[in-house]
Symmetry: D2
Subunit: 152 residues, 4 copies
Amino acid sequence: MSDDPTPQEVAEKAAEAMLAADAATRGLGMSVDAIGPGYAKLSMTVRDDMLNGHKTCHGGFLFALADSAFAFGCNAYNKVTVAQGCEIDYLRPGRLNDRLTAECREQALEGRSGVYDVRITNQDGATVALFRGKSRRIKGVIVPGLTPDAEE
Amino acid sequence: MSDDPTPQEVAEKAAEAMLAADAATRGLGMSVDAIGPGYAKLSMTVRDDMLNGHKTCHGGFLFALADSAFAFGCNAYNKVTVAQGCEIDYLRPGRLNDRLTAECREQALEGRSGVYDVRITNQDGATVALFRGKSRRIKGVIVPGLTPDAEE
Amino acid sequence: MSDDPTPQEVAEKAAEAMLAADAATRGLGMSVDAIGPGYAKLSMTVRDDMLNGHKTCHGGFLFALADSAFAFGCNAYNKVTVAQGCEIDYLRPGRLNDRLTAECREQALEGRSGVYDVRITNQDGATVALFRGKSRRIKGVIVPGLTPDAEE
Amino acid sequence: MSDDPTPQEVAEKAAEAMLAADAATRGLGMSVDAIGPGYAKLSMTVRDDMLNGHKTCHGGFLFALADSAFAFGCNAYNKVTVAQGCEIDYLRPGRLNDRLTAECREQALEGRSGVYDVRITNQDGATVALFRGKSRRIKGVIVPGLTPDAEE
């Protein structure tokens, strides 16, 4: 192919490669519903093995959904990017069989550091949790040959 | 038994009941290694279904381990307590087969609100992540009859 | 006046009363540039007494600007609302004489608990910091008689 | 002096130089009560120009106190270190004339990244706020000639 891929094509190919390599995201039954530069939307159904002692979705699985959306969003430039830290605030519980959607939007990207916000909503559109992730780009690319190798 | 249980006995019975009811914590293979008032130590082995595309432990599972330690620690008074929000900072990756330990310590408990810190270390004692959880006590008890019912 | 004030009028009157009572916000030279239900925009110039040893704006003053925007935003319903916790991420330094603007937007309001995001930008429109505040409504109103007293 | 300074001597000299250069910390009336490698204790009295509309200490000044303790603690190795992000949780209000003490302890230091916790207490020893700061070491030293120049 003689033409450089568009940012949208880069994001799609990076997401495809990431999902193929990511046993955790697949094992939790997540689907990647939309992807773009700095953007991702993933969804997941709350299974009974995700319930805690209060019979609501264990925070770890809400977090995992948001964290995957964050990872797909911040790696969508095909540059390997890792989480430095994250924060989650719970607004209402996730219940058994809820279909939860996590939408990640880039808030800032300054050099190698980025801030991404994820909102988790349920099938009624109500907000279940808000998540903020801080990313840092390291060496390497997700898909070799897709974009110029990172210079450092 | 005519005597009131000690705080340590309360913590142990609350933890036992929580674990029995918590499919998520059990399903992730966590063990409760120590418990006390405002304190919990849990451990978990990184399985291959917990790996992300970077072949390190998906942040959601690190978070889940810390979050469970937090839940066991802040519910150890037998008063139902939920997470309001949490924060995690990653120091080094978790690897396949790492045995991770999360130790939760109460930092503050003021009225119904608490702050708990969790440190995740690996089998070499190196810190993998630091977690801070903010809790809020709601109505109800974990084990009925174990402690006086919450007044509200 | 026989008519109930609009939400916008409530927000304006609450902000006016808050500013009059808030020595800290006035003393730091902040101006309230816009206000609305769950929304506030404040600005402040970086003075030399706000510089730290790195000759950039001390984080406390960036935080104070964001925190004031958050306070004006979450109290704009005329119901007394306090901060539970906040988080700030720094993207670029504030410099002497920079005119910094903090814009607060409500992200979620669920019962008494809210989440508000504030973005601080400089005079060039570059993002200096991102702030997330968690609020909790308590008893009381800002301006008596302006809105129905809170029920609790 | 022919001998290398001890880590404690380095911390003291770095703190002295930082305070001399830090108009913000001095202007807020903070005193540096103790210093050590990765450790600092600062105190400050709540003045009337620090009060918000609720007549409690504006969160920005609580944050500034914690942030200064964090800065002194993480720069005590004489390597220039900046804040990446911080989080604060409020437990009880600061009141006019309260003497607040902020004690910073290093939680982790991994390569250039560190995590520091600060507890703010009042004159009665009650916890007012808990703060967690994330640091990153950059190029340069605080006091030239005191320690080997950072290699990068």
